[in-house]
């Protein structure tokens, strides 16, 4: 376990970017509303006032504007720990439809080199790619995390689509690189998101690696909980595990009180990320967390 102290309540980003696991239509409507950064900032300010100590932010194309707005708001910035979630997979998936996997990486970095002058010329990139593709991963991480450079970041989460793929392919080397790059170059801790907590615990033990901070679904109906509710509950009892729980409300399917009474059964849950989109919802949800969860 990393020993990182996590804020109890972290505001999630899904509503800001139109991600809604219960209704795509509702997601699209929220994306339209939150295309105005001011509307995002209003929700963030309300969350901070109601007790949120962190903000999870995917590296969505619109996240840079939110980071920029936060960086010039000293009051909010000082009260919020940022939790980047990378990469924003849909961005690469859509682009890969056109360019293929290799070119999507080289083009993304090449465009960044001219736009952001991070010194990554295309030829240099090609040379790096021939030597070791993990150099490309480092360069992509640097690019994705650039928007957070003026903010307080202590843990960076790897998206579950990628981490579950790496676990399935049994690639500890990539996780090690991810952890060491974050520690050495950014001074931050590596967090791993997963949709299969028991597999993560098993793999990291097999690999002889310290358990990372984990972002995973914890909810009483087992929505997006794999491989089974029972096995996840067993894994959540692991004494060395630090979990940031997501999906606690099962995308709005559960009421806050029933959701958080369930979460309270697991001392390994040290933090809860909640995606809310209205100030009213923030107040009632955060209150339910405070009333239901005895942080131990």
């Amino acid at each position: 376990m990393s020993g990182v102290a996590l804020p109890r309540i972290v505001l999630g980003h899904n509503a800001f970017f139109g991600v809604d696991h219960l209704s795509s239509q509702r997601g699209a409507e929220r994306a339209a509303y939150f295309s105005e950064v001011e509307n995002v900032m209003t929700v963030i300010a309300s969350a901070v006032d109601s007790g949120a100590g962190g903000l999870m932010l995917s590296t969505h194309p619109r996240a840079a504007a939110i980071c920029e707005a936060l960086s010039i708001d000293a009051r909010l910035a000082s009260k919020l720990e940022m939790f980047p979630l990378l990469p924003y997979a849909q961005k690469y998936v859509t682009r890969a439809n056109e360019l293929g996997m290799v070119r999507v990486v080289t083009q993304t970095l090449a465009e960044a080199s001219t736009r952001d002058k991070v010194g990554l010329g295309l030829d240099f990139l090609r040379t790096m790619y021939r030597r070791d593709p993990l150099d490309m991963v480092r360069a992509l991480m640097r690019l994705e995390l650039r928007m957070f450079r003026k903010l307080n970041v202590s843990t960076v989460f790897l998206h579950d689509a990628l981490s579950d793929l790496l676990m399935a392919l049994n690639l500890p080397k990539v996780f090690s690189l991810y952890q060491s790059t974050l520690r050495r170059r950014f001074g931050t801790t590596a967090g791993i998101a997963t949709k299969n907590l028991p597999l993560l615990v098993q793999r990291f033990q097999e690999w002889g690696m310290e358990l990372p901070v984990v972002l995973t679904h914890v909810n009483k109906v087992g929505f997006q909980v794999n491989p089974s509710q029972e096995e996840c509950e067993k894994a959540l009892a692991h004494p060395k595990l630090a979990v940031m729980a997501m999906g606690t409300l099962a995308s709005g399917y559960l009421t806050p009180n029933e959701a958080y009474s369930y979460v309270n059964a697991f001392p390994s849950v040290q933090s809860i990320v909640v995606g809310t989109s209205t100030t009213h919802h923030i107040a009632s949800t955060f209150l339910a967390i405070r009333q239901s969860v005895d942080w131990r």
């Binding site: 970017f17 139109g18 991600v19 696991h21 219960l22 209704s23 795509s24 239509q25 997601g27 699209a28 994306a31 339209a32 849909q90 998936v93 859509t94 890969a96 439809n97 056109e98 360019l99 293929g100 996997m101 290799v102 790619y129 021939r130 070791d132 593709p133 579950d160 689509a161 579950d164 793929l165 676990m167 399935a168 392919l169 049994n170 690639l171 080397k173 990539v174 949709k195 299969n196 597999l199 109906v221 087992g222 929505f223 997006q224 909980v225 794999n226 491989p227 089974s228 509710q229 099962a250 995308s251 399917y253």
Partner: protein
């Protein structure tokens, strides 16, 4: 159970996803990759020392390195690759769509007639929980005689002309109709039965060579009529969004990725009259591994079971060919300014 050795042909985005499932599920491991790109070959050799890497499918077959193969190459190469695998008695999962057109798939159908092996076409959308429930309800005839079917597929993928093989009809077979919308046609055939006639129009909104929008009227063998409307240039759709509405003599059914809504005049068995809604959390079934959606996992589990048992699958080359025949008919109708075109039956 014996551990199956899987191979993936085409180590792109979907190839990688399939490789993860092939290696991550308990009764299978990734044993081989076939990839023409030297860069990707090198990366695979470097990071997967236990995985054999081949440049061609012939080399894979000669090496007898796999018990099943997943073909995730551009559409135009599916048939020739799958045909060789079938001839070599190797079960095959072919990414959708099956082929550039129905005629092109004929040698594969003939190969399977000579030497049948378990075969699947990757219409994974059938395994989405909401569509599974909708199909179960429809197959129980809860709606009575289905009369009218509306369907759509939208995604914001292309707002300016695209590059790459997906936007070149020589390698992709066409635009949105044959790519993402083939999922809708597959679902309609699976849920409502054969389509006998179509009249359709296609439009190029941003592309030069392929259609970005399609609208087609459909006639079903059952007597139902309906339409599809689809575009990959539809703003505000973050991910591919499929919706199907059906009206029958006993009610209506609406299904999309998020929910199933059923209205019945009269109860059918345990299904009550009035409105019933199933949302995703109601229908969620856990999986051993989720990479890119549980539907891919369920599809792979079914495929591996068919490989082990040498059994057939619902989404196979035959059903994939039927989808292809409907797609061909819509393209033919669009070429003839929307004239009615009968859907060929290339299976008879």
């Amino acid at each position: 159970m014996t551990e199956l050795r899987g191979a993936v042909v085409g180590f792109g985005k979907l190839g990688l996803l399939h490789a993860g499932l092939a290696n991550g599920l308990s009764n299978s491991r990734l044993a081989a990759v076939v990839e023409s790109s030297a860069v990707i070959q090198r990366v695979v050799r470097q990071y997967f020392p236990d995985v054999d890497v081949f440049a061609t499918v012939e080399e894979l077959i000669d090496a007898r390195a796999s018990d099943y193969v997943i073909v995730a190459t551009p559409t135009g190469s599916h048939v020739s690759i799958a045909e060789k695998l079938v001839e070599a008695s190797i079960p095959v999962l072919i990414e959708k769509p099956l082929s550039l057109n129905a005629q092109e798939a004929q040698p594969l159908v003939a190969a399977l007639n000579r030497n049948w092996v378990p075969n699947m076409v990757g219409y994974m959308g059938r395994y989405i929980d909401t569509f599974q429930r909708a199909a179960q309800l429809l197959h129980r005839n809860v709606l009575g005689q289905v009369q009218m079917i509306r369907s759509s597929m939208y995604i914001e993928q292309l707002l300016k002309s695209g590059e790459g093989w997906r936007y070149d009809p020589a390698t992709s077979g066409g635009g949105v109709l044959i790519t993402q919308n083939s999922h809708v046609i597959d679902k309609l055939l699976w849920m409502f039965g054969d389509i006998t006639g179509v009249s359709g129009n296609t439009s190029q909104l941003v592309s030069r060579l392929v259609e970005d929008h399609v609208h087609a009227h459909l006639e079903f063998a059952s007597g139902a009529v309906g339409f599809i409307d689809a575009s990959w240039s539809a703003r505000h759709f973050r991910t591919p969004t499929i919706s199907i509405h059906a009206q029958g003599t006993n009610g209506t059914l609406d299904v999309n990725d998020d929910e199933v809504r059923l209205f019945l005049d009269n109860s059918i068995g345990e299904t009550s009259s009035g409105w019933t809604t199933w949302r995703k959390p109601d229908l969620y079934r856990p999986v051993p591994l989720d990479i890119g959606g549980t539907q891919y996992t369920f599809q792979m589990i079914d495929f591996l079971e068919a490989v082990s048992n040498h059994s057939d699958l619902d989404s196979n080359v035959v059903s994939g060919l039927k989808t292809q025949c409907v797609i061909d008919a819509v393209y033919e109708s669009a070429r003839r300014d929307g004239a009615r075109v009968g859907v060929a039956n290339l299976l008879s």
